[in-house]
Symmetry: C2
Subunit: 366 residues, 2 copies
């Protein structure tokens, strides 16, 4: 990845806004800008903060525990430790760098942290400036190197699904299947699952966000598997619903309806189309068959270094799609007491249409 180019682009943006430096705290933004692989333990326990001046070299600020990893991952940055906390280190570093206006990521900085930093730095005549989405806007459009990383993540995810598939048998518990999936992911070199895998059988498949339990997969009932992994930092996300055993007519009818909605969504995607129009194209199919109320979530979301990122394919997002965006297309129908069906692929927005990143079509066309 061309980190130098990304840093330069960000620095140009800072200079345009007359900001002297920015603190990058959002983990995927940090990785996007420098490749640092440190993983945070929630927002309250960071593995490091990037300090990027509007001009000049980059600093990676971290603590004792992450020093070696920081130095190995980002040899071109200056790694500085903060044994007495970030505010003290900033008070020492920023005046030397001539920083008077310091931007921070308002959408990934705790209110208490922002307040504490602002009070501490005010003493040194430094003003904190809240910013939102500066790096996220850069991440919206993926270059071909990133798309290739995402493609490999999608393909590995499909490979794991095929490997695990023969072991998905009625009677086996949901959690057992979920663990087998995540173990296979990591054996194949995934850093981690991109979210806790969903394995939901029968009634439980009616919960879009089901947590796999000790209950067994039921024969002749819908089974939803929603899984994704992180490979070289980039996420995949795929959902398949099928019936272990024999699918009845109602299942087949609803499955084909969801698949038609997915195809209509994919058909609507190309650069220049509003995200809400894509959502509408898929939703119209499901609503037209009388199941509009049973599809309670947005059609899709962006995927990249984060498994959920912009753009959202939702009725509320009227922004135009742009070439190089990567999104999921995942319509669903959820009927409490019966079960649910969701089908999810990932696609790249192109000028003339969309490129489907999923090669495997098993369980899509029944």
């Amino acid at each position: 990845m061309d980190y130098a180019k990304r840093i330069k682009r960000l620095q140009a943006g800072l200079r345009r806004q007359q900001i002297d430096a920015i603190l990058i705290t959002q983990p995927e933004n940090r990785r996007y800008l420098c490749g640092y692989t440190g993983s945070d333990h929630g927002i309250a326990e960071t593995s490091g903060v990037l300090l990027i001046p509007a001009k000049g070299g980059v600093y990676l600020l971290t603590d004792f525990r992450y020093r070696l990893q920081a130095e190995q991952d980002v040899p071109w940055a200056t790694v500085v430790l903060y044994p007495r906390g970030l505010p003290r280190l900033l008070l020492r570093l920023l005046p030397d760098l001539g920083v008077r206006k310091l931007a921070f990521e308002s959408h990934y900085t705790l209110h208490s942290t922002a307040t504490m930093l602002a009070e501490g730095l005010a003493k040194a005549g430094i003003t904190m400036v809240p910013l939102r989405g500066l790096v996220e806007n850069m991440r919206l459009i993926k270059d071909e190197e990133e798309i290739d990383c995402i493609r490999r993540s999608v393909r590995l995810n499909e490979q794991v699904f095929s490997e695990i598939f023969p072991a998905i048998q009625p009677g086996r518990s949901e959690i057992d299947i979920a663990l087998a999936i995540e173990t296979a992911m990591r054996h194949h070199g995934a850093e981690q699952p991109s979210f806790p895998s969903i394995v939901a059988s029968a009634d439980r498949s009616a919960l879009p966000h089901a947590v796999p339990g000790v209950l067994p997969v039921e024969k002749n009932r819908p089974l939803t598997i929603d899984m994704g992994l992180v490979l070289n930092g980039y996420c995949s996300d795929m959902t398949r619903t099928f019936v272990p055993g024999r699918a009845d007519d109602r299942y087949l009818e609803l499955h084909r309806l969801v698949r038609r909605a997915q195809l209509a969504g994919m058909e609507a995607i190309r650069a220049g189309v509003r995200a809400s129009a894509v959502d509408r194209a898929a939703r119209a199919i499901i609503a037209g068959a009388g199941y509009g109320d049973a599809f309670g979530h947005a059609l899709g979301h962006g995927v990249g270094l984060a498994v959920h990122e912009d753009p959202r394919l939702s009725s509320l997002n009227h922004k135009q799609l742009r070439a190089g965006m990567v999104v999921t297309v995942e319509p669903g129908i959820y009927l409490p007491g019966w079960g649910g069906i969701r089908l999810e692929n990932m696609v790249v927005v192109r000028d003339e249409g969309c490129e489907n990143l999923n090669a495997d079509t098993t369980w899509l066309d029944l």
Copy 2:
């Protein structure tokens, strides 16, 4: 758990500060107050927010995806969905409840969220009041029911370690062992690991925060395993270092030194003693043998619903320990190029000393 009692205690605190209601966003605080098991996807994707008025019933605000789980977990609360976002829902709910001053958790609310809510609510004459640590202060002291939960979490963690132990053989990869540990945890009913398990062999054991890799466990070199799980919401955390094969004299000397430091720390713990004094008691043993620089982190941390919580057993925390606190005691020595040794137990602070929650003493006294 007596959620009604906790809510009443919090409400009394709100009334003392003349606050009309509080938004609870911190996930462990939310679980502590109502038992809701929804899990968030990072701070930006919550599974729900508690709204607790200073008087009257509790509201659990969430979205479509978590509705059933919220209603099942907290049948005594009013579950309300926010299809158009939290600010809109609050603008509808708060005036009816007569709320003029709304507190929020400053240490678990994003700066951008706090700003957006404050602007939105100001139109309705409602003021946002940042608060910190109100619920965390309640969580500091565990009652016997909580201690029992933690004890069971510790014991299950030990059981998993004993089960996996025979399969820890030189040549097997670190990640393979970590996966076996986490799979066993979940098969035994743990909700999840309380943090990504650390399995670090040879040089890599010198990283206190090592990430297990595909490299094999090396014979006759130190191996550090740091593992914990979540059982009924409560965390455990345990570290063992040992040598697969034959430990040399240097290893034995350093291992015994770390163990002496751990015992000195445990010996120093009782209600009324400063946290910094406990850290000092353990650190003095290691520093006295000339390895002070090789012990670069604090002696321990609180454990409960969160795996890292207050109190910190650190040289910077001069607060007194109180009966019912639960902490880790985990001195370590890290020598780059050679390896590291860390030994970690969990104890309950009692009036007369400490109660060791770890029953297993394997690999402590060599």
